[in-house]
Symmetry: C2
């Protein structure tokens, strides 16, 4: 049985001022190991500057922005993928005039401390 | 340190007739648990009809197609996410006149048999 859903049919949660998150595929949908979320940042908005044990795998759907980390800032736009390793302090900022929309995937909580042998 | 790359800068592999795959974030980039790939299907092309232990999490970037499984077919288009659980026989077909482009994420091989307690 496949789960098929449009991300706009998922309720948006406020993740930060001007930032929404939709958990499109996660534990509720039966995803076993990682979750697919869609973020939308309004112009000028930023995701929280934070770090955590888990990695992010991001893919930019539309808009323009910057990925900040301890190494500085990197411009990001449609079609670009970003790997944020666990433990790296980071945030994203929308530097454009349209919504910055990206997918962000994370491993599920039970994977904390579980690594390839 | 972030890895930032455009998917078009990744070499495309032929996955099936009329189907290319790019491994944009994977073990070579230091992804620890799951891999982000971009698939492009030419009009009329299909991914192989297959099944495997791992799940797929798919997000459609552009184009129109159908996701087939034992339950029948489901239309898919831009902005739609699809969860294909492990063990489900499935394939995707481009039913439109433009390229069908989607992201497909999979857990890494070391996760076979590793599940939440």
């Amino acid at each position: 049985m496949l789960t098929v859903r449009h991300y706009r049919d998922v309720e948006a949660q406020t993740a930060a001022p001007g930032v929404t998150m939709r958990v499109v595929l996660g534990p509720k949908e039966g995803a076993p190991t990682f979750n697919l979320r869609v973020f939308e940042l309004q112009p000028g908005a930023s995701s929280p500057h934070h770090n955590h044990w888990w990695e992010h795998e991001v893919f930019v759907l539309s808009g323009e922005g910057v990925a900040y980390s301890e190494d500085g800032e990197r411009p990001v736009s449609e079609g670009m993928a970003i790997l944020v390793p666990g433990g790296v302090v980071h945030h994203f900022t929308n530097t454009g005039s349209a919504v910055l929309r990206f997918i962000c995937l994370v491993p599920q909580e039970w994977l904390e401390g579980v690594r390839a042998q």
